[in-house]
């Protein structure tokens, strides 16, 4: 074996082990398990897990609800953080830019559990907001801010939005200021500059960020479970229940597979519509 070949196999084998054992085989297993019926030891394939999904309204309705929420939170994350990304790359004094960018990273690094817990403290009946409003004499009884769809949405937005901001900032950094200056000199309004120059240039970042945000929200369990209400409808909770409470793994596998299909389909559509490739998402 020549030295080059040796190096090639030295690199290839660990990578193959990773991909085959931890990515490819488990997903095939997920697919196969979803066609098996719990308690039935015969290896016959059955569609039962999927028919249950479509027959029980609670399942498909939760599924639909989750997908729509994930799309909504993704759009919201764009609207909320795009001005911030633009400000940090194009407007703020460069002195402060790196400091403020670092501030964006801190909640990400601290992690979801801690920040979601922070929102429990803020939104609860004796939380920061209710106690402040009481102290100011605006309310007598606490507002119902926690354990509903409002608090769930805040949590989902908070834990995902920075994954939109950072790729958008990367694309905006590569936008030459003189393009904006030229457009402005030629009399373009702010709105026109925004629509015709800034958005098209930032599009790859917006799509990358949108894909990551969507995937994080649709697969999240912590924010819906901790901040959402008792009767809230979130699909990953159904998957968790099947795996960790009722131990019907095959049913859970079918739910998991459906979640994988819908998230891949939405991501694929986003890539098609924007003419991008998956290879670019990570960069």
């Amino acid at each position: 074996m020549s030295g080059n070949k040796k190096a090639f196999y030295f690199l290839l084998i660990p990578v193959l082990l990773w991909l085959v054992l931890l990515i490819i085989i488990p997903h095939i297993d997920l697919f196969i398990s979803s066609f098996k019926v719990d308690g039935d030891s015969s290896s016959a394939f059955s569609l039962e897990n999927y028919t249950i999904f479509f027959e029980e309204k609670i399942y498909w309705f939760t599924f639909l609800n989750t997908v729509l929420y994930a799309i909504g939170i993704t759009l919201l994350a764009f609207v909320v953080t795009f001005p911030v990304a633009f400000y940090l790359t194009k407007v703020v004094d460069r002195k402060y830019a790196s400091f403020l960018t670092l501030m964006l990273l801190i909640p990400l690094w601290v992690g979801e559990l801690v920040t979601i817990y922070g929102w429990v403290i803020i939104l609860g009946d004796h939380g920061v907001i209710n106690e402040s409003l009481k102290w100011l004499g605006i309310i007598d009884k606490p507002l119902p801010l926690l354990y509903n769809n409002f608090s769930m949405s805040i949590g989902l937005l908070y834990m995902s939005m920075l994954f939109m901001t950072i790729p958008v900032m990367t694309t905006l950094e590569s936008l030459d200021d003189s393009l904006i200056e030229a457009a402005s000199d030629l009399g373009a309004s702010k709105f026109t500059i925004f629509r015709r120059i800034i958005i098209p240039h930032a599009m790859p970042g917006i799509v990358n960020g949108g894909i990551i945000v969507f995937m994080l929200v649709i697969g999240d369990y912590v924010a819906p479970n901790i901040l959402g209400g008792k009767s809230n409808l979130w699909f990953t909770e159904q998957i968790y229940n099947q795996f960790l409470s009722t131990f019907n793994w095959n049913q859970g596998a079918a739910f998991g597979f459906l979640l994988l299909v819908i998230s891949s389909a939405v991501i694929w559509m986003a890539l098609k519509l924007s003419g991008q490739k998956l290879e670019k998402v990570g960069s």
């Binding site: 030295g3 991909l19 690094w109 601290v110 429990v120 609860g124 697969g219």
Partner: protein, 283 residues
């Protein structure tokens, strides 16, 4: 609109106001946690009952502070061990994958690359359940057919490490690839023409060049592991990691000791972030 163009005061101050609101939204949970960690109260939220270090140091019937809370301390230690193992594995295999995909040509490279970056868009729950399914399947076969009782395949430390590594390697691959793209291949060619083997060239030329990215990948994957919940929850055995322990405490028994541990995490991350700000500034 941008630094070089004149702006109306309304635009300027309106924009600044929005950015201020955004950053308040961003740091509010972190500040609320940190302040209330020092509240002399048995409730996690307001009202404020005065300053106290009880939730760090107390050890009596009413209050058990962080430094006497055996379960919590143990979960922190488990998280550190897990993160260390996961970050080393991810960085090593991710770097190998970067070298493989950037520098080698082989059949099915595109397809393998697709699988390597797929974890970016696969929700963490799915990775968790599919790895749980296949590992328990393999464990069962080994047990029933061969009578081998293997702990590696049942939920526990190593399954968590491998589950997190399945996506950690993807991030390491992307971070190292980004730097490898800037590598001048002539450097390696020079080494090869001086009779170095390919592996020697990688060891003495390429790896030193990649060092900053490799260190970065280690740090990023370490933090990812330390805060991961969605994949970990399915693979964890009787030794919970910190996020898993936090989750069950938030759900079932929250005391301000949660604020104390969250405060320690926020403090640690802020210190790391400040150090990185100053080291970047020096360059």
């Amino acid at each position: 609109m941008i630094r070089s163009l004149p702006n109306s005061p309304l635009y300027k101050y309106g924009y600044r106001f929005y950015i201020t609101l955004f950053f308040i939204f961003l740091v509010l949970p972190l500040i609320a946690i940190s302040v209330l960690a020092f509240n002399d109260s048995n409730s996690i939220a307001l009202p404020w009952h005065g300053f106290s270090l009880d939730w760090f140091f107390a050890n009596n019937d009413n209050r058990v502070g962080l430094f006497h809370d055996e379960d919590l301390l143990r979960s922190i230690w488990i998280s550190v061990e897990t993160a260390f193992a996961m970050a080393i594995l991810s960085t090593v295999v991710g770097t190998m994958a970067a070298l493989l995909f950037e520098q080698e040509k082989f059949k099915f490279k595109g397809l393998l690359y697709f699988f390597a970056i797929a974890p970016l868009v696969i929700p963490g729950v799915i990775l968790g359940i599919s790895i749980l399914l296949s590992s328990s399947y393999v464990g069962e076969i080994l047990d029933t057919k061969f009578g081998i009782d293997t702990e590696v395949f049942s939920p526990g430390f190593w399954l968590v490490v491998f589950g997190q590594f399945s996506f950690g390697a993807t991030y390491a691959l992307l971070l190292v690839s980004a730097r490898l793209k800037k590598f001048d291949p002539q450097l390696e060619e020079a080494a090869l023409s001086l009779k170095a083997s390919r592996l020697q060239a990688i060891r003495y030329i390429t790896i030193p060049f990649l060092k900053p990215a490799i260190i970065g990948a280690f740090a990023v994957t370490f933090i990812m592991s330390f805060s991961n919940f969605n994949t970990t929850i399915f693979l964890v055995g009787s030794d919970p990691t910190l996020p898993v322990e936090l989750f069950s405490r938030i759900k079932f028994s929250s005391t301000p000791v949660l604020n104390a541990v969250s405060f320690m995490i926020v403090l640690f991350i802020t210190i790391v972030a400040t150090i990185s700000l100053f080291t970047n500034r020096k360059k």
